[in-house]
């Protein structure tokens, strides 16, 4: 279990901080060390491995699925789990095992896209607010407060009400919801780094703001952002499932875990497997992202308590 690769981006390559040696700040673990430390945390290591597996399944979904997502076979309808259909079949005779595999691609794609939106926009806002302070900070963070005042799922529902349902809009909606979270985490982290000796030193020798931000501030402010990314992926997968369950996210006949759960709900008393396996898939994926996030936090940023932990789910 040592040094196994993870689906998480390694802390940015500039983390070696070639510029000015810092004696003020404890040396941060570089990415190899991070992986080594992470591997010693069994929960995080197992989660990381399992997530890698889930991502691989999602990437090679069509090759791995025994049948297509919408191959209907009426005589096989509502079959319980068997050797032929490990997870059983649904009311249209579709193979649930195949649909769970193909659903992984949908759920993860929406999750990663959503977090990418939140990460890029939110971190940029947090970076600018934290680095420039004063009115820039005030204006940007008040706008973030406004977004943050909306309940997460309802804000997503509102965005979908405006833009219409579908996977792409779901990703956008979830992404918008998490922008303020990334902005706050990044800003807090940047504030801690901004006045470090190496930043001031670099500034005093005439480095541009852009260079300061990209070479010194961002790399050193990255650990909490990385932790937040993993935890947000957990929430994004959960949110995608919830929105699809409500009929606003991924649309039928596409297989998405949340949608399968909604479809299986009607058969719960005669065919439990319809709702059980997609639910299990959501649960395991979310659990792995959460455990990996916890593990990353222990290694990268032991004192950080992320905002989302206390915030709306």
């Amino acid at each position: 279990m040592t040094g196994q690769p993870l689906p998480e981006p390694a802390p940015s390559p500039t983390a070696t901080d070639a510029g000015i040696p810092s004696t003020q700040r404890a040396a941060r673990p570089r990415w190899r060390e991070t992986l080594g430390l992470l591997a010693r945390n069994p929960a995080a290591a197992v989660s990381g491995a399992l997530l890698l597996l889930i991502v691989l399944v999602a990437v090679f979904d069509e090759a791995l699925a025994p049948t297509g997502p919408n191959e209907i076979s009426v005589e096989d309808r509502l079959q319980p789990p068997s050797l032929e259909h490990p997870f059983g079949t649904d009311d249209l005779g579709r193979d649930i095992f195949s649909r769970v595999i193909l659903g992984a691609a949908v759920s993860l794609r929406v999750g990663f896209l959503a977090v990418a939106v939140a990460l890029v926009i939110g971190s940029l806002i947090g970076l600018l607010a934290g680095f420039y302070g004063r009115w820039v900070d005030d204006v940007l963070m008040r706008i973030m407060d406004m977004l943050f005042a909306f309940p997460a799922v309802l804000l997503a529902i509102a965005v979908l009400a405006v833009r219409g349902p579908g996977s792409g809009n779901t990703a956008l909606a979830i992404g918008i919801v998490y922008i303020p979270v990334f902005a706050r985490v990044t800003r807090a982290s940047v504030l801690g780094v901004r006045e470090e000796v190496y930043v001031r030193a670099s500034r005093s020798v005439g480095a541009s703001d852009l260079r300061l931000l990209t070479r010194h501030v961002l790399p050193n402010a990255a650990p909490p952002i990385i932790v937040q990314t993993s935890i947000s992926l957990a929430f994004a997968v959960l949110a995608e499932a919830a929105l699809s369950f409500l009929g606003l996210g991924t649309q039928p006949p596409n297989p998405s875990w949340g949608l399968m759960l909604a479809e299986g709900r009607g058969f719960i008393d005669i065919a439990w497997w319809l709702a059980f396996f997609p639910g299990m898939a959501i649960f395991l994926t979310v659990l792995c992202f959460n455990l990996l996030g916890d593990g990353l936090r222990d290694v990268l940023d032991p004192r950080q308590r992320t905002l989302m932990a206390g915030g709306a789910r």
Binding site: R142, F150, A158, A242, L291, D294, R313
Partner: protein
């Protein structure tokens, strides 16, 4: 304190602009969308005029926001009832569920979090960590479906959903409340457990606790007077945040349990393209969220003299 309240007002103003903009961001004509395909020109004109959509945008915003301040959130496109009365109808169910859930959450979180902090790395602590991790990761609607299958289906102990007012049928009320409150309570409780654990641990490690122990105070007294009181502070914040979240309608759980709360109202409004209702509901949630956060901050100042200036 004034500054803090002022900030909330600014944020609220911004929120109302966003909520207002919502309807105007919808591609196409909201009224045409709301009415569907078959309607007469008169119906269209009447609804358009009544909802003020024929006025200039800025004027619309101020008349809408001004009316909202006096509690008038407009009229539903669908039923013709006022949004305020629609919301008021749903309020008892939502309040009931939110407070029952917080109760469940605290009943889980406080003992579990405290026990695991008192015996870090023990079996109890590991068990609590695993449980709370599971509670955070499990999809609420899945847990709800499983509970319905077991308790309403197989065992037949509880009704699978619905809501009756307490005054009409106390037993039926409690029976129907149990499962939804359990589902949302377990999720919130898992979040709060982790906070209780870390704040009790932090309080245990404080210097004044060591001093209290060193001067020979009984363990029980040290715990209640020096540890618990300090650990309570973060608990207020996280409970407030969770309450705000629960009050804003746990949409999915309400749907699964056919619970006639605000979340359900909001979702129905989306499906029916009933934008005034959606606007009203979302505005209310945002206000509730801001008010609870403000109250939590002020409460924090009141119970912790160190923060007072």
């Amino acid at each position: 304190m004034l500054r803090r309240t002022g900030q909330s007002v600014v944020v609220l103003a911004g929120v109302s602009v966003i909520v207002f903009a919502l309807v105007h961001l919808v591609p196409g004509d909201p009224i045409r969308l709301a009415l569907g395909t078959r309607f007469s020109q008169e119906t269209y004109d009447a609804l358009r005029e009544r909802s003020g959509l024929d006025q200039p945008l800025v004027e619309q915003f101020f008349s809408w926001a001004g009316a909202a301040l006096t509690g008038d959130l407009g009229v539903s496109f669908r039923s013709g009832e006022t949004v305020t009365s629609l919301i008021a109808e749903r309020l008892p169910a939502t309040l009931t569920l939110a407070f029952a859930s917080i109760l469940v959450a605290l009943l889980i979180a406080v003992p579990l979090g405290t026990l695991s902090a008192l015996r870090p790395r023990s079996l109890v602590d590991r068990g609590a960590t695993v449980l709370s991790q599971i509670g955070i990761s499990v999809p609420e609607f899945w847990m709800a479906i499983v509970l319905i299958l077991v308790f309403a289906g197989t065992l037949g102990w509880l009704p699978s959903g619905g809501y009756v007012p307490l005054t009409e049928d106390p037993l039926g009320w409690a029976q129907r409340l149990l499962m939804p409150a359990l589902v949302t309570g377990v999720v919130s409780g898992s979040v709060i457990t982790r906070f209780v654990r870390s704040s009790v641990l932090e309080a245990l490690g404080a210097d004044h606790v060591r001093t209290a122990q060193a001067k020979g105070l009984p363990t029980r007294q040290v715990f209640t007077w020096h540890v618990l009181r300090n650990a309570l502070l973060p608990l207020v914040t996280v409970t407030g945040v969770q309450l705000a979240y629960l009050l804003s309608g746990v949409v999915v759980v309400e749907i699964v349990f056919a619970w006639p709360g605000l979340g359900q109202l909001a979702l129905q409004a989306v499906q029916a393209r009933d934008y005034p209702v959606l606007q009203g509901a979302i505005l209310l949630f945002a206000v509730v969220f801001l008010v609870i956060n403000l109250v939590v901050d002020l409460l924090y100042t009141a119970i912790d003299p160190r923060i007072r200036r």
